[in-house]
């Protein structure tokens, strides 16, 4: 139920819900880009396992985009009825995924430094 100064007859007058879904989609696209970059770099360094990890990250990015569309439809009801719309499980999962991906990128790059 819209609160504050919004017209109660209009659901989500500020388009907060749509903007959040688009933010999820942009994040998915970013994950795909980093995954592809990691896969390409790993193939050049002949590290097939890391290349597969990069591809898996790209798949997770694509799944994130699909999930965001499910989240969009599932959140309509809680928004309308005024219930909580937070999703700690999804947020935690994406947080952990990003930590893991950035750590893999870091250690892959450390391993391939020309300093050694």
């Amino acid at each position: 139920m819209p609160r504050g100064g919004a017209d109660p007859k209009i659901l989500d007058a500020g388009l907060q819900h749509e903007r959040t879904t688009l933010a999820w989609e942009r994040t998915g696209i970013s994950a795909i880009v980093v995954g592809v970059l990691l896969a390409r770099s790993a193939v050049e360094a002949s590290q097939q396992l890391i290349a597969l990890t990069g591809l898996a990250a790209a798949v997770v990015g694509a799944l994130m985009m699909l999930w965001s569309s499910l989240l969009y439809s599932n959140r309509m009801e809680p928004i309308e009825s005024g219930f909580d719309v937070s999703h700690p499980g999804g947020t935690r999962a994406i947080g952990r995924f990003t930590v893991l991906l950035t750590a893999i990128c870091f250690f892959f790059s450390v391993q391939n430094l020309s300093w050694w």
């Binding site: 980093v34 050049e44 219930f83 909580d84 937070s86 499980g89 950035t102």
Partner: protein, 155 residues
């Protein structure tokens, strides 16, 4: 198909304190108290306060996603600097700094989201953090370092 848990507004008495364990068991689900890497307890923010206006929750979620995208963009920059740019003096140094910054940003994102969500639910001021200043200064410094390395490499 994924379904959101049916969350009810917490009783008035739990406005500023955590709900008792019995009362909140069904609300916490499997997201109850967890231990972070640092050993500190990270609770599900839904275990405190009252359900806030959905606009605040979604704004907090978008901010979290913006941090995640920042971490991913820094990772892409780091990988690109090391592996894609050819013959750039100091590219590995620059790339490692970007990747380090990326990891720090990613590692602090969830904790920031949970802290903000908790404050929103309690009606308390949002927790202050120096990370945005640190990240801005770090990225600006890296830009200057990259320009300096480019000039040095061309000399």
């Amino acid at each position: 198909m994924y379904r959101l848990p049916n969350l009810r507004i917490c009783v008035q008495s739990c406005n500023v304190a955590e709900t008792s364990s019995g009362e909140s068991d069904d609300r916490r689900g499997n997201g109850d108290r967890r231990r972070s890497v640092a050993g500190r307890v990270v609770s599900d923010p839904r275990s405190v306060g009252t359900d806030p206006d959905y606009r605040f929750t979604l704004a907090n979620e978008r901010t979290f996603l913006a941090w995640i995208r920042t971490a991913l963009a820094l990772a892409a920059g780091g990988l690109g600097a090391i592996n894609l740019i050819e013959n750039f003096y100091g590219q590995e140094f620059l790339g490692m700094l970007l990747l380090g910054l990326s990891f720090i940003t990613a590692a602090t994102s969830y904790r920031r989201w949970a802290g903000n969500e908790r404050s929103i639910r309690l009606g308390a001021p949002l927790p202050a953090s120096r990370l945005p200043q640190f990240l801005t200064a770090g990225t600006a410094l890296l830009g200057v370092v990259a320009a300096a390395l480019f000039v040095i490499g061309e000399l």
